[in-house]
C-alpha cells in the first residue's frame, strides 16, 4: 500500500490522527489516549497488518517542552511502514504502554524509560534497562548534566 492510501486508511480508523510533516515515511500524530486502541486495530486489520514494532524511541524537544514518542511499525507480510508519533508533556511524561499489542514493546519502553524517564502506564515490569536502578537522571534528555561527561575543548 502506498503512503497516501495508508494514511487515508489509518485516518479512517482514527480520525484524530494528523500527518506529521518533515518525515520520509508516512507518519501520523496520534493522541496518547488513542494509541493502544489504534495500534491494536493496525495490527489486526487484514489490509494493514502492522505486526512488527520495528523500534520505539523518544525525542526530547526541550524548547517546545514536550517529548515526541515515535513508534515505527512495519508489516512483514505486506511490506509497508508507518510511524506513529505521540507528543506528551515534558513535565508529566506518562503514556499508555503497548506491551499487550506488541510484546517487544516491553523492552523498548524500558529503554525509553531508562533514557528519557517516560513512564508507561500499565507496564508489567517497568525498571531501568541499561543503567543501574539507583542512577540519578535520564541521560538522553537534553538537559541532562553529568560532570563526568566529556566535552569538546573550544
Amino acid at each position: 500500500m502506498d503512503a497516501l492510501n495508508l494514511i487515508a486508511a489509518v485516518q479512517a480508523l482514527q480520525p484524530d490522527a494528523k500527518v506529521r510533516e518533515q518525515t520520509d515515511q508516512p507518519t501520523l500524530i496520534v493522541p496518547a489516549h488513542a494509541l493502544v486502541a489504534l495500534a491494536r486495530q493496525l495490527r489486526d486489520d487484514p489490509t494493514l497488518r502492522f505486526d512488527l514494532l520495528e523500534t520505539h524511541t523518544a525525542v526530547d524537544w526541550l524548547d517546545e517542552d514536550r517529548f515526541e514518542l515515535l513508534y515505527l511499525l512495519a508489516s512483514v507480510p505486506l511490506g509497508h511502514h508507518l510511524t506513529l508519533s505521540v507528543s506528551i508533556d515534558r513535565d508529566e511524561p506518562v503514556v499508555p504502554t503497548l506491551c499487550e499489542v506488541y510484546p517487544i514493546a516491553q523492552w523498548l519502553e524500558r529503554e525509553v524509560y531508562d533514557m528519557f524517564g517516560i513512564l508507561y502506564d500499565n507496564h508489567p515490569d517497568l525498571r531501568r534497562l541499561f543503567l543501574e536502578d539507583d542512577w540519578v537522571g535520564f541521560p538522553l534528555r537534553k538537559d541532562y548534566e553529568d560532570d563526568f561527561m566529556l566535552e569538546r575543548p573550544e
Binding site: 505486526d51 512483514v76 507480510p77 505486506l78 511490506g79 548534566e145 566529556l150 573550544e154
Partner: protein, 263 residues
C-alpha cells in the same frame, strides 16, 4: 487488496526461498531426545548406523588435519618479525609525511583537529611566528584515545598525515602514548624552501621531541580545568534561573485567584 489474498506470515511476497532443512535425519531416531521411545521408532538401526558413521566422518576431518602439518596456520609472532608484512593501508599509527629534507606541509589549518571524533589530535601554534603567519608548534596525537577511524587522513587537504603499519606501540607508561608527530616546530615546507640561506632555515625550525606530547596535554588539561570551573558556575546559575522561572510560572496562575479571594 482483498483480504483473502493477503499472504500469511511465512509466505511473504514474491521472495524466492530455499525452504526446508534437509530431511536426512542422521539422529538415532529420537532415542536420545526422548521424543519417541527408541524401540518404537522405525528404522532405528539405520539411524544408529548413520549416526555412528557421522561420528567417524567428523573424526576423519580432524585427523586429516593432524596428519597434514602443512595445514597449520599459526604465525609465531616475534619470530616472524622479518617476514611479517602488513598491508600499506593498515591503520596502526598516525604519522607525518616529511619530505626528503625533513620538511612537512602542515599549515595548521586544524581541519583534522575538528574532524577528529574524540579529540585525539591536539594542535598548538607557536607564540611568535618567525616567518609565516601560522606556524605549527606541536601536532600531538593521542594513541590512547584514537579510534583509528582514518578521518583525519582523508580530510587533510595537503596530504600531511598518513597511517602506517608500525603496530608495536605498547609502552609501560600511559603518558608515552601521546606523540608529537612533527619533527620540528616552525613554518611549512613551502615557506622554508623559499628561504635561500640554510642557516636561516635552521633558525626558523625548532626540533621537537616525539614524546613531548604528554606535556602539551597536561597543559591543555590545566587550562580546561580552569575553564570548566567557570563553565560549571555559569551552568548552575542558568539552571537556578530556569528553576526560578519555572517556579514563578507555576506560581503566577495561582496568584490571581488568591488575590481575588482577598479582594
Amino acid at each position: 487488496m482483498p483480504a483473502d489474498s493477503v499472504p500469511m506470515p511465512g509466505e511473504s511476497i514474491e521472495t524466492p526461498t530455499v525452504v526446508a532443512p534437509p530431511e536426512k535425519h542422521v539422529g538415532v531416531g529420537g532415542a536420545m531426545t526422548g521424543a519417541v521411545p527408541w524401540i518404537d521408532k522405525a528404522g532405528v538401526v539405520g539411524g544408529v548406523f548413520r549416526g555412528i558413521r557421522s561420528l567417524f566422518s567428523g573424526m576423519g576431518v580432524t585427523v586429516g588435519y593432524l596428519m597434514r602439518p602443512s595445514t597449520v596456520v599459526t604465525q609465531e609472532y616475534p619470530e616472524n618479525r622479518e617476514t611479517l608484512k602488513l598491508p600499506d593501508r593498515f591503520r596502526a599509527q598516525l604519522a607525518f609525511n616529511h619530505d626528503d629534507k625533513g620538511y612537512h606541509k602542515c599549515t595548521m589549518c586544524r581541519i583534522c583537529e575538528e574532524a577528529c571524533p574524540n579529540v585525539s589530535i591536539i594542535i598548538t601554534g607557536r607564540e611568535k611566528p618567525a616567518v609565516s603567519k601560522k606556524e605549527l608548534d606541536s601536532f600531538v596525537w593521542r594513541l590512547d584515545s584514537c579510534t583509528f577511524c582514518n578521518t583525519c587522513v582523508i580530510v587533510c587537504p595537503f596530504g600531511v598525515l598518513r597511517f602506517d603499519g608500525t603496530f608495536e606501540s605498547s609502552v609501560y607508561d600511559r603518558r608515552l602514548l601521546s606523540y608529537t608527530l612533527n619533527r620540528y616546530a616552525g613554518p611549512v615546507a613551502s615557506v622554508l624552501e623559499k628561504m635561500e640561506d640554510p642557516e636561516a632555515r635552521k633558525a626558523a625550525m625548532d626540533p621537537r621531541d616525539p614524546y613531548s606530547g604528554a606535556a602539551v596535554i597536561a597543559a591543555l588539561i590545566e587550562k580546561q580545568k580552569a575553564t570548566k570551573v567557570s563553565q560549571r558556575a555559569a551552568r548552575e546559575a542558568a539552571r537556578a534561573a530556569r528553576i526560578a522561572a519555572k517556579a514563578a510560572a507555576a506560581a503566577a496562575p495561582a496568584t490571581p485567584p488568591e488575590a481575588k479571594d482577598v479582594g
